[in-house]
């Protein structure tokens, strides 16, 4: 594995970690099963891609990323509110099906959607099944700025953002908003009886989750400089879900841990062969088996609901000092 490839893998895992964090807000903390996170991821990536084509000012340099990421977050937020207001009244399995449908609808619409080339590629059609791609490097289009590259999302930049979002979410988890969300997860009727406005907090959690997923989409675009609708299929949503199940539903450090484990697995296993079949080519099969086995053997994941897993606390402090029912 060359250094360049290694950095690319690190960056991809960072983006997966942000997605896992975002899904953990809605699935792990609020307890609403969301099977369409790839939809918000796709909206973010497309919004970032379109804004870099229509709204790029090469003289601003890094600020272009801020513009593009803000557009992505706003777009994902708007769609989450449009979807959330009617659908968050649904419960459990029905919500899962509707969000799954949303993810598929986004993908189907993106395949059928075409945009004009804007000021970057005048006269060309972009979009459709090939998606958005920088066919020429931005530095070649603006000869005045030969060093300008829209590839802002370097691996270290992504990981700094993972840390920032992680700290932000840990703080939200400890705030009254976070406690309200966890209360909704444990018992909706009890939460309502305690004066928690169900639809308000559900919508806020949904919005927060979608905005972070949209931001991950923007990072994805500025890392790859290309995006195709085929990436955002149901498997993408399930992969994210698998990460937080592996890490432990409700635990943000668990989500990052799950993303690292599942993100590294395909690269570690790509040269392994079983009965003449390359494991790397059957990633979906591995994921499916992993999902079934994980739920059967360890439904609480590695971290459980805590940020620091109970087994680690036992290891450092001994068993007696752990207070019961501790969260966060």
């Amino acid at each position: 594995m060359s250094w360049y490839e290694f950095h690319s893998v690190l960056g991809s895992i960072g983006i997966l970690a942000i997605l896992a964090l975002s899904l953990n807000v809605i699935c792990g903390m609020t307890g609403l099963l969301q099977l369409g996170q790839a939809g918000f991821f796709a909206i973010g990536a497309y919004a970032a891609g379109l804004s870099s084509i229509y709204l790029t000012f090469p003289e601003l340099g890094m600020l272009n990323f801020v513009i593009s990421a803000s557009v992505a977050m706003i777009a994902a937020g708007i769609f989450s509110i449009i979807l959330g207001i009617p659908c968050l009244r649904l419960k459990g399995d029905y919500l899962a099906i509707v969000t799954l449908g949303f993810g598929e609808i986004v993908r189907l619409i993106l395949i059928n959607l075409n945009f004009s080339g804007g000021k970057m590629y005048p006269g060309e059609k972009i979009g459709g099944a090939t998606g958005i791609k920088f066919t020429e490097f931005p530095g070649d289009i603006w000869p005045k700025y030969p060093d300008y590259s829209a590839e802002f999302a370097k691996w270290w930049f992504i990981w700094i953002l993972v840390a920032v979002i992680f700290i932000l979410l840990i703080n939200i988890k400890r705030s009254s908003f976070g406690r309200a969300m966890m209360c909704i997860r444990e018992d909706e009727i009890a939460a309502q009886a305690m004066g928690i406005n169900l639809s308000k907090y559900k919508l806020m959690a949904f919005l927060l989750s979608a905005v972070i997923a949209g931001f991950a989409g923007a990072l994805f675009f500025h890392k790859e400089l290309a995006v195709t609708p085929g990436k955002f299929n149901l498997l993408c949503s399930i992969e994210i879900l698998l990460m937080i199940v592996l890490g432990g539903l409700g635990s943000f450090s668990g989500a990052i841990c799950g993303a690292i484990i599942l993100g590294m697995t395909p690269y570690l296993l790509r040269h392994v062969e079983v009965f003449g079949y390359r494991i790397g080519e059957h990633q979906q099969l591995i994921y499916a088996l992993l999902l079934i086995v994980l739920i059967r053997l360890s439904p609480n994941g590695i971290f459980g609901m805590n940020e620091v897993p109970a087994w680690l606390k036992i290891f450092f402090k001994g068993k007696k000092q752990i207070p019961k029912n501790e969260t966060a």
Partner: protein, 305 residues
């Protein structure tokens, strides 16, 4: 716009297939409150099994013999895979809560899809239409209705669905096993106290659902290609059909299947690009869940604290 009759017929025929799959969803959801995502894969495996029997049969077999044989063997294959899935994957986690069950169902669905992609290296299969009088040739024959050709094989979809629905209706409403099923769906604990073997009821419910999904797979296999991913979208649409009709209700599932089939064809008739066809079902689902969450024929259940 003038080929309304074509899209209506086409919608009714595909609706019959959705109805067959939806019946399995509605039975399983009624009993253990699980969206069996793998149900679409039972349908896919039924289609593959039917094709396997077609390959085994001598090439000169008359379609009058081979078509019923394919349908029956697909039903048996669907039954075997459904019971196997229930015993291996769902039974051990039945007590672990809804989320665990739903995630397992998704896992099983992906697993079966990926295992099926080893068959013929995931290349689509189709009944060969080379010699006249063979199944493939018969399946490709079409008649003109409303300006466009409809394959004549599609006309057996509706009678097959009606016959199977009537048999299912008889089993659920008139037999002792059906009474046990309805009891378990109302209150599993009380049913267990009354001496009903819940495990056996759940197993046989999966069996019934699997048979119908397998037969639906055989029917679709006659008119289009067979591939590992073929079960995914019809599975989702059939679940939507079951919800639209009222989950847990047999007439509801059939009605929902026909509604979804007709609406998605009417969308094309109305001039919306074919690519958006699959979107229509989800929009119908959202509208129905908002207006009448229990479905068209479903009974209203209030949440108990």
């Amino acid at each position: 716009m003038d080929n309304f009759l074509f899209f209506l017929t086409s919608g009714l025929c595909i609706g019959a297939v959705y109805a067959l799959i939806a019946l399995g969803y509605t039975l399983v959801y009624g009993i253990i409150k699980l969206i069996n995502f793998a149900h679409g894969e039972f349908y896919m495996i039924g289609a593959y099994a039917g094709f396997g029997i077609y390959l085994v049969l001598p090439s000169g077999t008359s379609p009058i013999v081979s078509i019923p044989l394919i349908i029956v063997s697909s039903g048996i294959a669907g039954m075997i895979i459904a019971v196997l899935t229930e015993q291996v994957a769902y039974k051990p986690i039945r007590k672990s809560g809804r989320l665990a069950a739903l995630l397992t169902a998704i896992g099983v669905s992906f697993l079966l899809q990926n295992l099926a992609s080893f068959i013929n290296k995931a290349n689509p299969l189709q009944y060969s239409a080379e010699s006249t009088g063979s199944i493939g040739e018969l399946c490709q024959r079409s008649v003109a209705i409303g300006g466009s050709g409809i394959k004549i094989i599609q006309f057996i979809f509706i009678p097959v669905t009606i016959i199977l629905t009537l048999i299912l209706w008889h089993i659920v409403m008139r037999t002792k096993f059906g009474r046990a099923m309805r009891a378990v769906s109302q209150d599993p604990d009380a049913a267990a106290l009354m001496g009903i073997n819940i495990d056996s009821v759940i197993r046989r419910t999966f069996l019934l659902g699997g048979v119908m999904a397998g037969i639906a797979g055989a029917l679709i296999g006659f008119q289009s290609v067979i591939e590992p991913m073929m079960g995914f979208m019809p599975g989702l649409k059939a679940f939507i059909a079951a919800v639209v009709g009222g989950i847990g209700s047999i007439p509801g599932a059939v009605l929902g299947g026909f509604i979804i089939g007709i609406i998605e064809n009417m969308v094309i008739w109305a001039g919306i690009p074919t690519g958006y066809k699959d979107v229509a079902a989800f929009i119908v689902l959202i509208i129905v869940l908002l207006i009448r969450p229990q479905g068209i024929l479903g009974s209203n259940l209030r949440e108990k604290v």
